[in-house]
Amino acid sequence: MNVSTVQPVFKLELNHKVNPGIVTLAKYDGTHACLTASAGYDKIIIHHPHVGAISGRAQRSENHREISELNLSQAVIALAAGPLRPDTNRDILLIGSPTQILAYDVHDNSDLFFKEAPDGVNVIVAGSFGKYTKTLAIVGGNSSVLGLTWEGNEAFWNVVGGKVTAMITFDFDRDGESELIVGSEDSFIRVLKDNQFVAEIAETGPVVCLSVISDVRFAYGLANGTIGIYEDGVRLWRVKSKQNAISLQWSGEALACCWSNGRVDWRDGSSGRVLRRVQMRASAAAMLLADYRALGTPDLVCVSVRGEVLGYSPTQESSGFNDTTKNPATEEDRLAITELLNKKQALMLELQHYEANAASAVMPDLEDDRPTTAMPTNTRLQVAVVHSLDEGCLNLAISTNNETIVRAALILAEGIFESGETLARHPPLSQIRPILHVPLHPPRDVPVDVHIKALVGYPNSEQYHIFEMTKQLPRFAMYTMNYNATNRINYNSSYVTFQITERLQRICIWANQNFLLENELELNSEDAKEFHVNLTCLRDQSTLDMNFNVDGNVKITTSDMRLAGDLVQSLAVFLNLTDLKSTANFVEAEKKLREEMENASQAGEMRSRLAAETAERAQLITALLPAAQDAASYDLKEMLNRYKEVVMLNEELIAACHVRRATQEHAVASLKTLHTILQQAARLRVGKYSKAVVSASRNAVKENNVEALIKIIQVGESL
C-alpha cells in the first residue's frame, strides 16, 4: 500500500478567485487552449498564454497580463465550449445564467445565439450523440434536458426525474453511436438514446460528475463522496470518501480524481486502489484535461479556488523522493518485505485468535467465571425481513440460535436512512435479548443491498463477536401482500392497463423476484385464467392491485402514478419488451397537471410584468444618479433630496427583486412538478410509445394545451 506523490510539470497563478466547477477549456482560435473560468458572481476570466490579448468585449485584466475579463450582467452558472459552428473549428463559449444561455464566439466577438431557458440551466455540455452529427449545446435544467443547434434552434427536449447535475456523451450500449448519459439529483444515472431513456442506473446520492474513460467505461462521482467506474453498465468498483469529488478524468492509465478539499489522487482503473496523490494548497475548483503545454498530449490541469493552476503530465517519470533509479531491485525488495511482514503480522494475529479458541474449547461452561470474551462456538446468526404494517416499515429481525444476545446491530446501506449511511440499534441493558429488531424505511423503490454487522456475546461481555451478513431487498420490498380477502375490493379508480403476450407463469416469477413475499406466489393451476395480486404499501397504507389475464390484458390499479410507471418499466425489462402501449387514468395527476399549467402561465405573465417595472425603475435611477452628482456642485440640499430619491427607488427595486425571485422559484417548482408528471406518464409506456409521449407533451406545453396534455397521459398521444 505504497502511494507516491507526483510533481507538477507546470504551475501558474491566475491571481483571481475561481468558482468551483465553473471552469472550461476552449480553443477560441481553433488551435490553442485557453482556460476559461468564472471568477466572482458575473465575471468570466480567460487565460490565454499562447494567444495575444483577446479583443472585443473582453477587457485586459489588471491582475494578470495573460488574462482577459468578460463581464456579464447575470450570474454565471455553467460554462462550456465546443465547435458549434459547422463552418469553423473554433470553439464557441457557452455561458449559462440562471434562466438564459448565451453562445458567444470569443474570437469573432459575436453572439451566436441568446436563448431563454425557462427550466433553468445547471449543466451545459457541447457534444454530439446519436443521430445528431453536428455538435450541439446540451443544456441540463431543473427537470429537463434540451439540445440546441448552433443557431439556437431546439434539436431535442426530454424530461428528467430530477435536477440535472452532470452529463456526458458516451457509447453506453456499444452500438457505435454515442448516447447522452444524464446524472441527476434524484440519484439516477439515465441513458438517453434517440430521445428516449433506454437505461437507468439507481445510485445512492445525487450524481455530481461523470467522465468518459474508454469506449466501455465511464466514471461517476456522487454528492455523498462516492466515486466509481461502470463498465458495460456494471459497476466495477466504488469507494467512498468524506470529501466530494469535483472532477474525474482519465489520465495516464489511471482515474484521476479531484476532491473538493484540493486533494488529487490517481486510482487504478480496475480496482480503485490509490496509486499516486497530491494535495493542492487550497480547495479545488476544477480539473480538466488539456494540452496546455502544446506538446500534443493532454496534461491534467488542476485549478484551485485561489486561482492556482497545476499541470500534471499523464506519463509519470518516477520523480521526487522515492527515487528508485539507483537500485530499483533492492528498493522493490525492501518494500515487498515490509508488505510481506504486514501480511505475516495479520495472519499471526488471526492464528492466535483460533489457537485461543482451541485452548478454551474444553473449558467448563460456568456462568460465573465465564471470560468476558466468551461465546459458544456453535452460535449462528439468523436474519429475516418482515413487513410491519402497523409501524409502516420493514422489520429486520436479527437473532442468535442460543442464549447469547445481540448487543448491537449496525446496518450499512446507502440512500435509505434519513441521516448518514448507517443505522444502529443498541438496546438498553434491560432489553437485550437473543433477538433484535431494526426498522427500515426505504424511501424509494430500488433494490437495496443491506450490510448487517451484529455484535453478539453475553450481556456482561467486554468483547463481542462480529457477525456480518448482506441481505438484498427486492425493488418493491415496501409492498406487503394482502391475504385477507375482504381487502380485495379496491375502490381506487386510478389505473393503467396494457396488453402483453406472456404466460402467467413468467409473470409469477417476476412477482416473486421483485416483491418481498412471505410465501412464494404460485398459480392455482397450470391453466389458470388470471393471476391476481393485491398489496398494501407500507409507506401510506395505499393499496396496489395487479391483475394479469390469460389473454394478456394487464391492469395495475394504484393511485401512485410513479409506482405504476416503475412497475411497467420493471415488467418491461423482465419480459424484454421493446415497445408497450398503455392506457392510463390517474385522476389526481390530471388534477395536479391542470393546477400546475395554470400556475406556470400565471407565473409567466407575472414575470414579464415585473421585469418591465424593474427596467423602468432602473432607468430612472440611471437618470437620477448623475443628477444628484451634479447637484453636489451647487446645491447640497438639492443633492440630498435627489440622493434620497435614489435610495427610495433602490429600496423599491430590491423589494421588487424579492418578489421576482419568489415568483421565479414558484414558477420553477411548478415547472418541475409538471415535468415530473410528464415523465411519469412517459414511464407508463415503453419504447416508441414512451418517446411519443415526450414529444407530444412538449408540443402541448408549448401551446399551453391542457386538454391535450391530459389526453397524452391517458392514451399516450394527443390525437
Binding site: M1, V3, N15, H16, G40, V239, K240, K242, D265, G272, R273, V274, R277, F321, A329, D333, R334, A336, T338, L340, L341, K343, Q345, A346, L347, M348, E350, L351, H353, Y354, A356, N357, A361, V362, M363, D365, T373, A374, M375, P376, T377, N378, R380, A408, E418, S419, G420, E421, A424, R425, H426, K453, L455, E462, Q463, Y464, H465, I466, F467, E468
Partner: protein, 752 residues
C-alpha cells in the same frame, strides 16, 4: 452461521499508512527487520558493541513476556536468545555491573525483575514485595546504579540493595519516568522524576528536594550522553508534543521548552542517534511520527534543529540509535503492534549495496514469501476448523483474547470538548459509539463520522466512525450537548471498536465524561501560604462515607485520575479555561471543598448529594458562600473576557471581509486597499480559524450569579437581574457589570 465475509473495499484505500518522506536535511528509508508482540514504551534497546566487532545486538521485550536478543546479519534477524512467554514486559534496561560498558539486561514483567547476561543467562531475579498489588504496577521503569536497583511501580519508588528492599518513596501521583545522576562529591544518587500531571522533581536520600510544575506535561526523559557527570540536565518529551530540557542547578529545578508541540502527537519515547558525529535526539510519537532533532552538544539549551520526519502510520513505542545492520549508525524503531524496523540513510544504502547483499535481500524476500504461503495455508485450515465448530451441536466456548487497545482520556479544553485517544494493534474498521445522552462528536478528518437516527427514546446518541484503511490510532472529541450549562452527573459513553480483518471481534471501551471536565490541571498547593483561599466558597460534607466512596463520587465530577485513597487526601485542581480553582480535602466521614468559582461548588454539592442518596448514605452538606464571590471571580476572569470579546469582534469582521470577495490584488498590492487593522484580521482569518468563546463566558458569569442567589439566599425574582446582567455582558459593559454585581450583593445584604 459464523461467516467471515470478504468485505467489499468500500473505503478510501488512501490512508495514513502511506509512507512519505518530508526531507529536511536527511533522506532516510525504512528497512523492516522483524516482528515482536505488542511493545510498551522504551522496551527496545541496543547493546553496545563489544571489542572489535561493530555489530550491535538488539534487545526487545513484548507483551507476551518474551525477551529476545538478536543481531541483524544482512538485514536478516538472527536470534541470540529468547525467553519463554510470561507476564507482559513493561520495562527493559541495560546496565553494567562492573562499571564499564553496559552488558547486562534487566527486564521487568509484572512485579518481577530479572537480570540477563548478554548470552541470555539469568544471573539475577527478584520478586518484589511491593505493597501495592499487581494491578497497580501499571508502569514499571527501572534504573540500575552501582549495586542499587531502583524500581518504580505506580507511585512508589523502591531502592533495592543486594536484592533486599533498602528504601522506598511514595510520590503524589504516578511516576512516569526517571533518570539517575551521581552527586559530584559523594556517590549518592539523585533521581530526576517525572510525575503524572505535569510535575517533575528531584529525589535525594529519600526526600523530594526540588519540585517544578511543567504545563506541557512531560512524559519521557532522555539524559544526553554528552552531559558532564556534575550536571543534571535532561531532555524531556511531553504529552502535548513539545520537547524541552530540565536543569537542576544549586537546588533549583528549571524548565526550558525547546520545541513547541504544535499539532504533533504526544511523545511516547526518546532516544539518541549519532550520525556523522552529530548528536540527534530521536522523538517517537503516538501519531506514528519519528523525528530527528540535531542537538548542539556545546549548548544543550539551543533550539534543536528538525532534520527528519518519518510517518510510520502507527504509534511508535521506542526509538534508539546504533549500528545494527551495518557499520554505520541507523535509527531503530519499534511500534505499538510490534514492528521493528530501521531508518537508514539513503546515501548509505546506495553506497553499501553490493551484488551479494542484493542477492541476500532477494533470498530473504523469497523466504518470507514461502513463510506467508505456509501461514496462509495454516490459517485457512484453522479458519475451516473454526467454522466447522460453529456448525457442530456440541457447544464449546470460544474465548478469543482481548484485542490490544489502549485508550486515554484528556481533560476538557475549550467548550467542554474532551478527547479520547484510541490506539490499537490491528487496523480499525469502525467505531460504534453509544451514549444515553445526546453528545456532540468530532473525529479525525480522515474518518467518516455518521450520526444515526435515534432509537425509540430519541434522547440517545448512536454514531459510527468509519476509518480509512490502516488506521491504528484515532481520536474522538466528545461533549455533552445539553441545553443547560450545568451537568449534574457524569456521562457514560460506550465505544465499540471493530477491527478490519480477522479476528472478527469488537472490543467494548467504556469511558466516563465527568460533570466538571474543565478541572483537569493539577497545581501544587500550600494552604499556609495561600491566604486568598480563606475568602473562597466552601462546602462541608459530613456523614458516614469512606475515603474510597468519596473518591468514587469525585470520579463522577473530575476528569483524569484521582489520588489513591489514603487516610487524608488533599489536592487542588485548576479550571483549564477560567483558571478558577477547586481544592478538595477529605478523610473518612468528612470532606471540605473550596473554590473561587461558585458554580463549581454548586455542582459539587448537587452531585455529592445525588451520589449519597444513591448509596443511601446520610450526609450533611453545608455551604459557606461569601457575598462578594461573584464579583471577585468576575475580576479574575475580566481579562479573559476582554480577550474573548476582541476575538469575537475579529470573527465578525473577518466574516464581513470575506464576503467582500476581495481579489488578490486588493490584499497583496503595495498600495493597500484595507486599513492595517482589517488587513491583519483578514490575514489571520486565512491562516487560522478564528473562534471566540465569548458567549460561553457570558453564560458562565450569569450562572455564577444564579448559583450565588440559590446558594446564599433562596432566590426569587432572579430572572430580571440575570437578564440585566446578561444584557450588560453582551454589550461588553464590564464596568457596569462590576457595578451591578457589587450592587446586587449589597442589596442582598440589606435584605438580610
Amino acid at each position: 452461521m459464523l461467516k467471515i465475509l470478504c468485505q467489499q473495499s468500500e473505503k478510501d484505500v488512501a490512508g495514513i499508512i502511506i509512507v512519505y518522506y518530508r526531507v529536511m536535511d536527511y533522506d532516510m528509508c525504512r528497512i523492516d527487520y522483524f516482528i515482536s508482540g505488542i511493545t510498551y514504551p522504551d522496551t527496545l534497546k541496543i547493546l553496545p558493541s563489544q571489542g572489535q566487532k561493530l555489530e550491535q545486538k538488539v534487545v526487545v521485550g513484548d507483551k507476551t513476556g518474551v525477551l529476545q536478543c538478536l543481531t541483524i546479519r544482512d538485514e536478516e534477524p538472527v536470534i541470540q536468545f529468547k525467553t519463554l512467554p510470561g507476564k507482559p514486559i513493561t520495562a527493559v534496561q541495560l546496565t553494567s555491573t562492573n562499571g564499564t560498558q553496559p552488558d547486562k539486561i534487566f527486564a521487568a514483567s509484572g512485579n518481577e525483575v530479572k537480570g540477563y547476561t548478554k548470552k541470555g543467562k539469568v544471573f539475577f531475579s527478584i520478586e518484589t514485595a511491593l505493597s501495592e498489588p499487581v494491578t497497580s504496577i501499571l508502569y514499571v521503569s527501572r534504573c540500575v546504579f552501582g549495586g542499587d536497583l531502583i524500581l518504580c511501580s505506580g507511585r512508589t519508588i523502591t531502592f533495592y540493595r543486594d536484592s533486599k528492599e533498602h528504601q522506598s518513596y511514595v510520590c503524589k501521583d504516578r511516576v512516569l519516568d526517571m533518570a539517575a545522576f551521581i552527586t559530584p562529591n559523594n556517590a549518592k544518587v539523585r533521581l530526576l522524576l517525572l510525575i503524572a500531571h505535569k510535575g517533575a522533581g528531584i529525589l535525594e536520600n529519600g526526600h523530594l528536594v526540588a519540585h517544578i510544575a511543567i504545563s506541557s506535561g512531560p512524559s519521557r526523559l532522555a539524559t544526553p550522553p554528552v552531559a558532564q557527570v556534575a550536571e543534571i540536565k535532561c531532555f524531556y518529551g511531553a504529552a502535548d508534543g513539545s520537547v524541552g530540557i530540565i536543569t537542576y542547578e544549586e537546588t533549583t529545578l528549571s524548565n526550558n521548552c525547546l520545541v513547541e508541540g504544535r499539532g504533533l502527537g504526544s511523545v511516547v519515547c526518546l532516544g539518541w542517534f549519532y550520525s556523522n558525529a552529530n548528536l540527534h535526539l530521536a522523538v517517537g510519537r503516538n501519531d506514528g511520527s519519528v523525528q530527528l532533532y540535531l542537538i548542539d552538544v556545546e549548548n544543550l539549551h539551543l533550539k534543536p534543529r528538525l532534520k527528519f520526519t518519518y510517518f510510520s502510520g502507527e504509534p511508535v513505542t521506542s526509538v534508539v540509535g546504533g549500528c545494527v545492520g551495518t557499520d554505520e549508525g541507523e535509527l531503530l524503531v519499534a511500534t505499538f503492534s510490534g514492528r521493528i524496523f530501521a531508518l537508514r540513510s539513503k546515501f548509505l544504502i546506495a553506497g553499501s549495496v553490493t551484488k551479494a547483499s542484493h542477492e541476500n535481500l532477494a533470498a530473504r524476500r523469497s523466504k518470507l514469501e514461502i513463510e506467508i504461503v505456509r501461514l496462509e495455508k495454516q490459517t485457512a485450515n484453522e479458519r475451516e476448523k473454526y467454522q466447522r465448530n460453529s456448525r457442530s451441536l456440541q457447544a464449546g466456548l470460544s474465548t478469543p483474547p482481548l484485542l490490544d487497545i489502549e485508550h486515554k482520556m484528556s481533560g476538557a479544553t475549550r467548550e467542554g470538548w474532551q478527547e479520547v485517544d484510541i490506539t490499537l494493534a490491528v487496523p480499525l474498521d469502525m467505531l460504534f459509539i453509544y451514549c444515553s445522552k445526546k453528545l456532540k462528536l468530532l473525529t479525525d478528518s480522515a474518518a467518516v463520522l455518521s450520526v444515526c437516527s435515534s432509537q425509540d427514546s430519541a434522547s440517545d446518541l448512536l454514531a459510527t466512525v468509519r476509518c480509512q484503511a490502516g488506521t491504528r490510532r484515532i481520536w474522538l472529541r466528545l461533549r455533552v450537548a445539553s441545553t443547560n450549562s450545568t451537568v449534574l452527573e457524569s456521562t457514560r459513553v460506550l465505544i465499540y471498536a471493530l477491527p478490519t480483518g480477522a479476528p472478527r471481534v469488537a472490543r467494548l471501551l467504556s469511558i466516563k465524561l465527568p460533570a466538571l471536565p474543565y478541572y483537569s490541571q493539577h497545581e501544587e498547593f500550600d494552604e499556609n501560604n495561600d491566604h486568598s483561599i480563606k475568602s473562597w466558597c466552601q462546602l462541608h460534607v459530613t456523614g458516614g462515607f469512606s475515603v474510597a466512596e468519596m473518591t468514587f463520587w469525585l470520579s463522577d465530577i473530575l476528569p483524569g485520575d484521582l489520588p489513591r485513597p489514603a487516610s487524608n487526601v488533599a489536592f487542588l485542581r485548576v479550571h483549564s479555561l477560567l483558571g478558577t480553582k477547586l481544592y478538595c480535602q477529605y478523610q473518612r466521614g468528612s470532606a471540605v471543598f473550596k473554590s473561587n468559582n461558585i458554580s463549581t461548588v454548586s455542582s459539587v454539592r448537587s452531585i455529592i448529594s445525588n451520589c449519597s442518596i444513591d448509596k443511601r448514605i446520610r450526609v450533611e452538606i453545608s455551604c459557606d458562600i461569601p457575598d462578594d464571590c461573584c464579583l471577585k471571580s468576575f475580576k479574575l476572569i475580566e481579562n479573559i473576557i476582554s480577550i474573548a470579546y476582541e476575538k469575537k469582534n475579529q470573527v465578525t469582521l473577518a466574516k464581513a471581509l470575506d464576503l467582500l470577495e476581495l481579489d488578490t490584488k486588493a490584499i497583496n498590492a503595495e498600495k493597500p486597499v484595507l486599513c492595517k487593522e482589517y488587513y491583519t484580521v483578514l490575514k489571520n482569518s486565512e491562516s487560522e480559524i478564528l473562534q471566540s468563546n465569548f458567549d460561553e463566558l457570558i453564560e458562565i458569569v450569569v450562572q455564577w450569579y444564579l448559583d450565588w442567589r440559590s446558594l446564599s439566599v433562596n432566590g426569587n425574582n432572579t430572572v430580571d437581574q440575570s437578564n440585566k446582567l446578561c444584557a450588560l455582558l453582551k454589550d461588553y459593559k464590564l464596568d457596569d457589570v462590576t457595578k451591578v454585581l457589587s450592587e446586587l450583593t449589597e442589596f442582598n445584604h440589606t435584605c438580610e
